[in-house]
Amino acid sequence: MADLILTPNIDTPDDFYAELLATHEGLEKPESDALNARLVLVLANHIGDRDVLSQALKAAALKEETVK
């Protein structure tokens, strides 16, 4: 079973974060919310693995001790 990666895995984290903010730039709150929702779905499909997705949902809910 594949494990969800919860250690640093993005090459240039500052660039990515800036790009994420830029994508939301100029959007009203409802548009931004919709964009986030679409982003979640696009990423989820890319991951595909049901098991990893379940781990990701749990990790995002901050319900368990997941930070390593």
Partner: protein
């Protein structure tokens, strides 16, 4: 217009039972002449069981209600002798279109798998469906079968005993009492039987209302299923347009929770809504209008001693996915062969408990699916609407999002995984024919597989040796010997052999797989027969 659902087809007639000095005892009584009660009665009568159907009405379903019938129930109806008229009359459709706001986001083709005698779905009004079942009852009667429908016979009280059931029946000429060894309650979602026996019906009500209208129109909409999310003509809600025979179209319009039902149902309110949807210039006539609140519930147990519940009386689902009548027919398909064996003393009464186990499994699967569809169609929180709309927006651009769009997952039969009647899979063949599965059809030259498996235990051998007949403790199993060569399209091989060279399947009368092995083994198959008839329940 003379609507068939306004004409009595099993009108009241006085029965000699009403004048009998002591209550007359019947073998099986069925309460309710809806699709499920009629199917149960036909199934039993075909097996030589004497059966009495009591219905408080004398007509077929008022308005069409169910319109979409799936392949598995059609296969069951073939065994009951009325599949053909349904398919002949029904509308076959494969194409669906999904709209969001003011645009079409995508379309899909059901692409039904080849090599099945019956189509994936037909659309047919429930009143025709019931009419064909009643015609079949008449045919059986003319052949001497002991089957009777008594119209305007309302069951008012039930007395349950260890070995029979007593019924108080109200008629236009007063009440009388009858008895039955067994009772099948098919008296619908509001089941008076359930209420009279003080049994629960637990589940979930969806806080929403749907206007269901059948309209007759000469419009050139194609034979497709059109589903709208949040359309301009019904802002914030959903809508469905689907074709039925005779130029009748089904329209579902979601209305929301806080509405005045009586007001919304009036033609002067319905017609403008429909005009907005269909366009001002389309001429149509209202055939039937109703408003529903959908629910998903089931009984905790379907069998209570000599009383067995089936169809909507036992479980109710929201119509998204067309699982109501479709699953009710699978109930009776599961129940009737078992009941026949118990009546004949060829199987222990406990065999009937497997009906509970298997059909509760089916009901839960249907409830799960139709609840999920309802949640997608009618999102109840801001976030579920946001995610739903995100799926729809993405579906216009990217194929990946389309499988997430859920406007109803159309009814498919369930596999009885873990059933006490299954023997462990000793073959490792295709997944879809593992023990517990409903047998998929397969072409055999000019014929098809399923009609050859009808109504009795069968030992299906594919390129394998086995005796022609096995008798095990009163159960007779006949062999059906096939070879992969019987099907040049190789579907039989794909569906029943996979990578194996040969196979022997024990198939139940309801065409579900009980056991399979690569070759015949006398002891193992005798054991499997005992297991499949409730004689080895552990």
């Amino acid at each position: 217009m003379n609507k068939i659902f306004e004409t009595p087809i099993y009108g009241y007639e006085r029965s000699p039972d009403q004048d009998a000095p002591t209550p007359v005892r019947h073998q099986v009584a069925v309460i309710g002449a809806g699709p499920v009660g009629l199917a149960a009665a036909i199934d039993l009568a075909q097996q030589g069981v004497e059966v009495l159907v009591l219905d408080d009405n004398d007509k077929v379903s008022f308005g069409s209600r169910a319109i979409c019938f799936a392949k598995r129930p059609l296969e069951i109806l073939d065994r009951l002798g009325c599949g053909q008229p349904m398919v002949d009359k029904g509308v076959v459709w494969n194409l669906g279109k999904v709209f969001f706001d003011d645009r079409k986001v995508f379309e899909f083709d059901l692409l039904p798998e080849k090599g099945h005698q019956r189509p994936a779905f037909i659309n047919l009004q429930q009143y025709y469906f019931e009419e064909y079942l009643v015609e079949r009852v008449r045919e059986l009667q003319s052949e001497g079968a002991k089957i009777e429908i008594r119209g305007r016979n309302k069951v008012e009280a039930i007395g349950t005993h260890d070995d029979h059931v007593k019924l108080e029946v109200e008629t236009p000429e007063g009440s009388y009492t009858v008895e039955a060894d067994w009772l099948i309650a098919c008296d619908g979602a509001g089941s008076p039987t359930r209420r009279m026996m003080g049994l629960d019906f637990v589940g979930r009500v969806f806080e929403d209302n749907f206007l269901i209208a059948d309209v007759v129109m000469e419009a050139d909409f194609p034979t497709e299923r059109w589903f709208w999310f949040d359309p301009p003509f019904n802002k914030g809600q959903s809508a469905l347009l689907h074709k039925q025979p005779d130029g009748v179209w089904r329209i579902d319009l979601q209305l929301g929770w806080d509405i005045d039902k009586e007001r919304e149902k009036r033609p002067e309110n319905v017609i403008p809504r429909l005009k907005q949807m269909l366009g001002d210039d389309v001429e149509f006539e209202l055939e039937w209008v109703s408003i529903y609140t959908f629910q998903c519930r089931r009984m905790e147990k379907f069998r209570h001693g000599r009383v067995i519940f089936a169809g909507d009386a036992a479980h109710q689902v929201s119509p998204f996915g067309a699982r109501g009548a479709n699953s009710g027919l699978q109930d009776t398909d599961n129940l009737c062969w078992k009941l026949k064996m118990v009546i004949d003393g060829r199987a222990p009464e406990s065999l009937l408990d497997s009906y509970d186990a298997e059909r509760i499994h089916g009901a839960d699967e249907n409830i799960l699916n139709s609840s999920r569809s309802t949640d997608f169609i009618t999102p109840k929180s801001e976030m579920s609407r946001l995610l739903r709309d995100a799926v729809l927006d993405l579906s216009e651009h990217y194929a990946f999002a389309r499988p997430l769009v859920n406007s109803g997952r159309l009814s498919v039969p369930c596999t009885y995984d873990g059933s006490p009647l299954n023997s462990a899979d000793a073959m490792g063949g295709p997944e879809r024919t593992r023990p517990g599965s409903p047998c998929p059809d397969a072409p055999l030259g000019d014929a098809f597989l399923l009609p050859k498996l009808a109504g009795r235990f069968t030992l299906l051998t594919i390129d394998a040796e086995a005796p022609e007949v096995i008798e095990e403790d009163g159960i007779r199993v006949e062999r059906l010997a096939l070879s992969v060569k019987d099907d040049p399209t190789l579907e039989l091989k794909r569906r029943y052999l996979g990578d194996c060279d040969s196979a022997v399947y024990l198939i139940r009368p309801d065409q579900h797989v009980a056991a399979r092995r690569p070759s015949y083994d006398e002891n193992q198959f005798r054991h499997a027969i005992r297991r499949a008839t409730g004689k080895e329940m552990n």
